[in-house]
């Protein structure tokens, strides 16, 4: 006899609500959005003060398993934090560190690696991963080549958080990864919203540790990356919609608020529809993932949908704000930039659409009437 009831809810659990509110409060109190402006001209650094506070709250390394000092936070909680970071446009390396820690948590770590991970959890070190997916093709990006003596060589281009990371989890050979803390050259690359980017060059670098045969873990880490950047987009969208609606209600032209004109109302309504659905897709993918389902396609759908929605939202936000929102005094430009960067992280829309389409077209079992997911 089935005693389990169906679950349908759009409410956050009490625990999740508390997490969300406390992160939101912290970001507001610490002036995260204001601090983010400092890095518009030069993003070789990040909001270290905020990062320390997030570490003190147990957030910076929450993704790590307990053995590495974290709390093995479920994906739904990680995504919620990313959403809040998106609302404030916070300049901290949460997403990349989270996926690096999750990946390390799946592997057998030496004590040196474990110490490093714990330092990252404590906010004293930053660890990133050079595992970004190509946006357009299914080509395999360059991986480091191991020599007989275990030293690694190669070039890793446009590594997210590469400019500030103390340690990099890098792809090696066909299905391995290594963690490196030294022996590589770092070249910062300024970009539109791809945070703290660097080209890394390894010429015989000795890794702290090397693993092979971990293909599935790598893919899952990339899926988490896509989910968390989608969650960032979702949070940024929330801010954009709220801020733009407020502006439209206050800005008077032709004797009335511009938000009373249908053209403006329709733009905002369209934003609201797309961002609401996108938010739900992220949370759905995260909660399904936590329940143990394979959510590769759900994540692909959530990311591609939100990236598309956010192109619309960020450009229309600028359109509605006009000149007021285009000067650097106004924070809008930060969100536009970050949204472009978030789209370029872990697969742009067409790539994800292709992946989903391929999966559906390949299936030979006709599963009728799957309501959602599938």
């Amino acid at each position: 006899m089935d005693t389990t009831a169906s679950v349908l809810t759009f409410s956050l659990s009490e625990e999740a609500s508390l997490l969300r509110m406390s992160v939101r409060q912290l970001l507001a109190d610490s002036g995260a959005q204001e601090a983010a402006r400092r890095f518009w001209e030069d993003d070789r650094d990040f909001d270290r003060e905020l990062w320390k506070e997030l570490a003190a709250m147990g957030i910076a390394g929450m993704a790590a398993p307990e053995a590495l000092g974290g709390v093995a936070a479920p994906w739904s909680q990680l995504a919620l934090v990313s959403e809040e970071l998106g609302v404030a446009c916070a300049a901290v390396p949460f997403e990349m560190q989270s996926l690096a820690l999750v990946l390390l948590g799946q592997l057998h770590c030496s004590s040196a690696t474990a110490d490093l991970a714990r330092a990252a959890v404590a906010g004293e070190r930053v660890v990133t991963a050079a595992l970004n997916l190509p946006t357009v093709s299914e080509a395999v990006p360059p991986r480091l080549t191991p020599a007989q003596d275990g030293r690694l060589s190669g070039q890793l281009a446009l590594v997210l958080e590469g400019a500030v990371a103390d340690a990099v989890v890098a792809p090696v050979g066909t299905d391995g990864v290594a963690i490196l803390v030294e022996g590589f050259e770092r070249e910062h690359v300024a970009s539109l919203g791809m945070n703290r980017l660097a080209n890394l060059t390894m010429a015989g670098a000795l890794p702290l540790q090397l693993w092979t045969g971990i293909g599935e873990h790598e893919r899952r880490a990339q899926s988490l990356g896509a989910l968390l950047y989608a969650a960032r987009q979702s949070g940024m969208g929330e801010w954009l919609l709220g801020e733009t609606t407020k502006y439209a209600a206050e800005r008077v032209q032709f004797g009335r608020p511009i938000g009373s004109f249908q053209a403006i109302q329709h733009k905002l309504a369209e934003m609201h529809i797309a961002l609401a659905a996108g938010r739900f897709l992220v949370r759905f993918a995260a909660s399904r993932g936590d329940a143990g389902a394979d959510v590769a396609l759900d994540v692909a759908r959530a990311k591609s949908f939100l990236d598309t929605a956010m192109w619309q939202a960020s450009t229309e936000a600028h359109q509605i704000h006009g000149g007021v929102g285009f000067v650097l005094d106004h924070p809008l430009h930060l969100y536009f930039a970050q949204s472009r960067g978030a789209e370029a992280a872990f697969g742009a829309p067409r790539r994800h659409h292709r992946e989903v389409g391929r999966a559906l077209l390949k299936g030979d079992a006709y599963r009728p009437n799957v309501l959602i997911g599938g």
């Binding site: 759905f284 559906l360 006709y366």
Partner: protein
């Protein structure tokens, strides 16, 4: 957002599917929202009676009015299953009229109309739009004049779909021409076999028939007035919320998408396998994401209903996305399949029984019917985002 069906609810879905397969199968090309072909009419009636016998026609109507008293979630599962397979249900009578009547009608009216609706013995059409009152519905002019124990109705309603096949019209008329337009409207239930009612068919590009209905001094008892005189606009607003919440199931669009995927899997054009083409994969993937997105909006309205709320902004958001999507799926089929998608049902080389051809025409309606998407966006901006009226 979390959504997981219990085994019991999954079995319910299977049960409905089996039932539809056995009792309806697929005649014609039903599945595009609205009235089916006229020649389906008898088969539809028989099917609806069978649904009623199973207790499914009025699945979420309270038991005291003859319904099964189930939750909005069960109603949602039932409607999504039934519309997926192109089978009919009572989407107007049970979907919008009954819940509004239960809220605002008197006990006698509820007992007179709801149980027969639930049994499949009667059905309603909506007497809202007129030639000069579509999006500006409050501008309606059909007169409802009290005369002794009766109300006398004169005027003309437009796009009264199904008037030719149902027993009653759920009519919005003007009872006080001197009041501001929203404050002089009343809701009346009008039997369509009353003297003075005449119906003129209007055939549409989408293939379904609608009607113009003339009311020539039609008398109905005062007992057919729903709620208070001149308060009709407020009841109508609730009925419209139900229409947006219940009237745009995703089943038909999802079925069309699944058919497109199934067909494309093995389709070749001039020796090229369509499923191997990048842009075809992307088109399918884009639609998959959008269908899932629309379903989250639908589920939100179901969740709200489960909490006893009537979705307003959320129902409007759903309506916009669902109607846009239905057209997008049809369009995608046309772009992927090319000329084959345009071949009509029964013609040489028709694919998926001409489903896509018919959908290309039929889905045009959805973006302006049931509240045009432009009006929906006004509601979303004004009610949802708090922006001032134009």
């Amino acid at each position: 957002m979390q959504f997981q069906l219990s085994e019991q609810h999954q079995r319910f879905q299977d049960e409905v599917r089996e039932f539809v397969r056995q009792e309806w199968s697929e005649t014609g090309l039903g599945g595009v929202a609205g009235a089916g072909e006229d020649d389906d009419s008898e088969h539809e009636q028989v099917f609806k009676r069978k649904l009623a016998e199973r207790g499914w026609l009025g699945i979420a109507i309270p038991e005291e009015y003859g319904g099964a008293g189930k939750r909005p979630l069960e109603q949602f599962l039932f409607v999504e299953e039934v519309t997926y397979w192109g089978a009919p249900h009572s989407y107007i009578g049970v979907g919008f009229v009954a819940p509004t009547l239960i809220r605002f009608g008197d006990e006698e009216q509820k007992r007179r109309f709801v149980p027969p609706l639930v049994r499949g013995e009667i059905e309603f059409c909506l007497g809202y739009s007129e030639a000069d009152a579509g999006s500006d519905l409050a501008a309606l002019q059909t007169r409802v004049v009290p005369d002794g124990d009766d109300l006398v109705i004169s005027g003309t309603k437009m796009y009264t779909t199904n008037a030719h096949r149902v027993e009653y019209c759920w009519l919005a008329g003007r009872t006080d021409p001197s009041a501001p337009k929203h404050k002089g409207i009343s809701l009346v239930i009008v039997p369509l076999d009353a003297p003075g009612v005449s119906i003129r068919p209007l055939h549409t590009a989408g293939g379904e028939r609608t009607n113009q209905v003339f009311f020539d001094d039609v008398r109905v008892p005062k007992a057919n007035l729903v709620g208070e005189m001149n308060r009709g606009w407020y009841y109508l607003a609730v009925a419209l919320d139900f229409e947006r919440f219940n009237g745009f199931p995703l089943g038909a669009a999802r079925r069309m998408f699944d058919e497109l995927v199934a067909y494309t899997r093995t389709a070749e054009q001039d020796g090229v396998a369509l499923a191997g083409l990048d842009w075809v994969q992307e088109t399918i993937g884009t639609l998959s994401a959008r269908l899932n997105a629309a379903m989250t909006l639908k589920l939100q309205t179901v969740w709200m209903a489960e909490r006893g709320e009537i979705p307003n902004t959320e129902a409007s958001m759903l309506k916009v996305m669902a109607s846009d999507l239905a057209q997008e799926v049809a369009r995608a089929a046309a772009t992927i399949l090319g000329p084959q998608a345009l071949v009509k049902a029964g013609q040489p080389g028709a694919v998926a029984r001409g489903r896509f051809e018919r959908a290309l025409r039929g889905t045009v309606l959805q973006r302006f019917a049931g509240g045009s998407n432009e009006i929906m966006k006004n509601i979303i901006a004004q009610r949802g985002l708090g922006l001032p009226r134009d």
